[in-house]
């Protein structure tokens, strides 16, 4: 607990002695750079797999679909989050003039978070995944995340409550917003029903799950990779430059408008999908509005260096900060641009999004983190930085690496988007074979590998430099004891100012406005952390509900399609394999109502097609083709051979090999529990299916395996995972064309031109 002791002083003021906890931010700082290297190394590996697909060697835990979530989770929740915690633990104590609320909670927070990271690093390569981007971790880990976050929140707000500085500085506003909002996002997006110790199903389905997921996904970027890093910027940049923040006014505008507007913008990830149009437009408009606060903040950061620009040439810390804030400006200009529907129609599902994300992640998050570490660690280790020259070298290597990463990927994205949409003079797709559009960007993927390698090399240099700095620490750290007067318990706000319009011929409202304008409302709020945080929470919750309630309650959002039926037990088992393997990392299941897209993939996707998809699998990237109408496109034996080794079907394919699926057995015994969990989230399985789930799955598996043999494929696959996955793939998109049951045939008419159905894959037939 707080090592505080009241001591009498010479003057009237009663001083309290305390020390800062420096061990915790130091530990988080080392965890940041260590996990950063690991996360970037995995990123480099997945980049290599795209450029040179044979690298994974058909090893299950090295496949792209399993490692890409490991990369994203590692850099977001291990690298960036540890950096946030290091910044919060260092600066909050100093801004509050108080030690952290509890040393025990600090230790639980640190070790608990590292344990979560280790659990993620084990489970994701094993194919244990919820199948939701950036929220892949399964329910036991999700619960652990929530608990550790609560520990962090208690420790953080407890420190605010015991502060000796009356007013909260800007950084603390941003930290408070992060602590509250991330808790809300994490809990509500991850609500699920467990089906097994490491398997659960989201309570949301289809359109509603998509909205929740991108409400979460977008705001995780906003409140884990933006607001805390802005708090970091407002603290460490003035410190490093020795100058106050450029404009306190701008920081007030920046904070409140960012917090209020950001939360609305998630639906821009779902333009032209089955999401209702009103939600999509709402997301776009609020995304465009984000330009204002984002650029306000960017300018505030850069102009903090006014009069201190000469320091930038000599100080690697300021170099990192300047480039970091510049990339914040670039990324936050580009984000709203990409949210504009017409731009999004081109950019969505392409590498453009990947380039945008990495401009923000490597440029903004990465550079701000390294700048902070180079400034903070020598102070925490009570010594000089081991090598300023090495830090400067890191800066230049990382900058070149960053440019070499993003430029080719921007080119790849625009190339791919343009090729997908290209129509020839005859009205046909100019590049009908998807593989052509992929092969065109492989050279860019190779250049990206070089860029990523350089950036990783820079991170390794940082690790070495910071480790060497720590090694130079004194034999015994000096413990700095601070003496500060406690806050007087009964603080009185200054009286409200009088209207300056007294005697003027104006209505009473003018007096009120004049008084309101003069009053220091915000200053008052800055000394009331509980109320301040409550206002932030209200802004976030209200904005969220304005999107979520209509999405869940308007019936016309998801028109029912009578022919859409729940997956059969075997198809469900196959779908779980699809989720675990992370197929959504490369394949979308969402055909947008865009000419080139319907020509390539078929009828555009309808909201009612996804009502049993827990979770939805629309994806966000097409490294491979869309699979929304994959059912019946290829024979089952084609699917088996393609999964076994995609390059025996098409030598230019970069898909991983899944030959092991031909050997690994389906978990038939686990199917009943999964069906029951699906029933709990609202999928209408009848009692017969629930009681005979495993037997039904075996029966359909035998039929699919026989079909594969009949098509001159390998024999003996009756119990193998590949059969379940093929059953699922052969079902995709076919319900829309299924013959309606007689009772409902008169009421609904499915679209014409159904693809040919084969007996083992009749939706709901088993």
């Amino acid at each position: 607990m707080d090592q505080t002791a009241a001591v009498p002083s010479e003057g009237a003021a009663r001083l309290e002695e305390f020390t800062y906890d420096e061990a915790t931010p130091r530990a988080f700082a080392f965890a940041t750079v260590l996990w950063g290297v690991v996360g970037m190394l995995v990123g480099l590996l997945v980049a290599l797999e795209l450029a040179f697909p044979r690298v994974s060697g058909g090893v299950p835990f090295l496949s792209f679909g399993r490692l890409r979530p490991l990369h994203t989770n590692a850099v977001i929740f291990a690298f960036a989050a540890n950096a946030v915690f290091a910044a919060v633990y260092y600066s909050t104590q100093r801004l509050c003039k108080a030690r952290m609320f509890s040393d025990v909670l600090s230790r639980i927070h640190f070790w608990g978070w590292q344990a979560i990271i280790v659990a993620a690093a084990i489970t994701l390569p094993l194919g244990i995944s919820q199948g939701k981007e950036y929220a892949e971790l399964e329910w036991p880990i999700d619960i652990a995340v929530a608990l550790v976050w609560v520990v962090f929140a208690i420790n953080y707000f407890g420190t605010l409550a015991r502060r000796r500085e009356r007013h909260m500085y800007v950084s603390l506003w941003f930290y408070s917003a992060t602590v509250v909002t991330i808790a809300i996002l994490h809990i509500f997006n991850n609500l699920s029903i467990p089906a097994a110790p490491w398997k659960s199903y989201s309570i949301y389905a289809g359109v509603q799950d998509a909205l929740m997921q991108w409400w979460y996904g977008h705001n995780a970027v906003g409140f884990l990779l933006t607001t805390p890093f802005l708090g970091l910027m407002y603290y460490f940049m003035p410190k490093a430059a020795g100058r106050p923040v450029f404009s306190y006014r701008l920081s007030i505008i920046h904070f409140w408008s960012l917090v209020f507007i950001y939360i609305w913008a998630g639906p821009h990830h779902l333009h032209y999908t089955a999401l209702p149009e009103w939600a999509s437009t709402l997301g776009m408009l609020f995304s465009v509005m984000l330009w204002m606060p984002s650029w306000g903040g960017m300018l505030n950061g850069l102009l903090t260096l006014r009069g201190a620009w000469q320091k930038v040439s000599a100080d690697p810390v300021l170099k990192f900060f300047v480039v970091g804030v510049t990339f914040y400006g670039m990324a936050t200009f580009e984000g709203p641009l990409l949210s504009v529907k017409s731009v999004n129609a081109l950019s969505h599902y392409t590498d453009w999004t990947i380039a945008h994300v990495h401009a923000g992640a490597l440029g903004w998050v990465g550079f701000m983190t390294f700048g902070m570490l180079y400034w903070m660690m020598p102070r925490l280790c009570q010594t000089e930085l081991w090598s300023k020259k090495l830090a400067t070298t890191h800066f230049w290597i990382a900058t070149v690496g960053l440019v070499l990463y993003i430029v080719p990927i921007y080119v790849a994205g625009i190339t791919q988007g343009s090729m997908w949409r290209s129509i020839d003079d005859g009205g046909r797709l100019a590049y009908p074979d998807f593989i052509e559009t992929l092969s065109a960007v492989i050279p860019m993927y190779v250049v990206r590998v070089f860029g990523g390698t350089l950036y990783l090399l820079g991170a390794v240099l940082a690790f070495v430099n910071l480790l060497a700095t720590w090694a130079r620490r004194p034999a015994r750290y000096e413990i700095v004891v601070h003496k500060v007067a406690a806050l007087a318990p009964g603080f009185q706000d200054p009286p409200l100012p009088k209207s300056r319009l007294k005697g003027a011929a104006v209505v009473d409202l003018a007096h009120t406005i004049d008084v309101w304008q003069q009053a220091a409302w915000h200053r008052r709020l800055e000394r009331l952390p509980l109320r301040f945080t409550a206002y932030v929470a209200v802004a976030v919750v209200i904005a969220s509900l304005f999107e979520i309630i209509p999405t869940f309650l308007i019936r016309s959002n998801v028109p029912t399609i009578q022919t859409v039926k729940p997956y059969t037990p075997l198809e469900l088992a196959g779908r779980d394999i699809y989720l675990g393997e992370g197929c959504y990392n490369c394949h979308s299941q969402m055909i947008r109502p865009i000419l080139a897209e319907t020509k390539r993939y078929g009828e555009f996707s309808k909201p009612g097609e996804f009502v049993y998809d827990h979770p939805f699998q629309w994806g966000s990237r097409r490294i491979g083709p869309d699979l929304a109408r994959e059912g019946g496109r290829q024979s089952s034996v084609w699917q088996v051979l393609h999964l076994q080794n995609p390059r025996q079907i098409n030598e230019r394919s970069i898909m991983p090999e899944y030959a092991w699926m031909l050997d690994k057995d389906i978990d038939f015994d686990g199917i009943p529990a999964r069906l029951r969990a699906m029933k709990k989230v609202g999928v209408p399985y009848d009692d017969a299916t629930l009681s005979a789930g495993a037997a039904l799955a075996r029966k359909q598996a035998a039929l699919v395996a026989k079909e594969i043999v009949d098509q001159k494929g390998p024999a003996g696959l009756d119990t193998k995972q590949v059969v379940a996955l093929v059953a699922y793939l052969q079902r995709l998109g076919k319900d829309l064309y299924a013959a309606p049951e007689p009772a409902i045939a008169a009421a609904t008419t499915p679209p014409a031109a159904p693809p040919a159905a084969t007996s083992p894959h009749e939706g709901g037939a088993l």
Partner: protein
């Protein structure tokens, strides 16, 4: 009549536009209020971060080693 009926018949054609305008007005109000704050007051608040260490009395000890 339940909440679903109410929301389903509310009509959401102009929802995004209304939300946009309301938020824009709130934003302009915030900017207007902040713009008219006294310059000296704002400067003093910004200075807070650099005053942080000056306001603290420090005593150095050397009594234990930390990891």
């Amino acid at each position: 009549m339940n909440l679903t009926d109410v929301v389903s018949h509310a009509g959401f054609a102009g929802y995004a536009q209304v939300g946009f305008v309301v938020s824009l007005v709130a934003f302009v109000g915030l900017v207007a209020w902040v713009t008219f704050r006294p310059r000296s007051e704002m400067k003093a608040h910004a200075q807070m971060i650099l005053d942080e260490e000056q306001a603290t009395q420090q005593v150095l000890t050397n009594d234990r080693r930390q990891p």
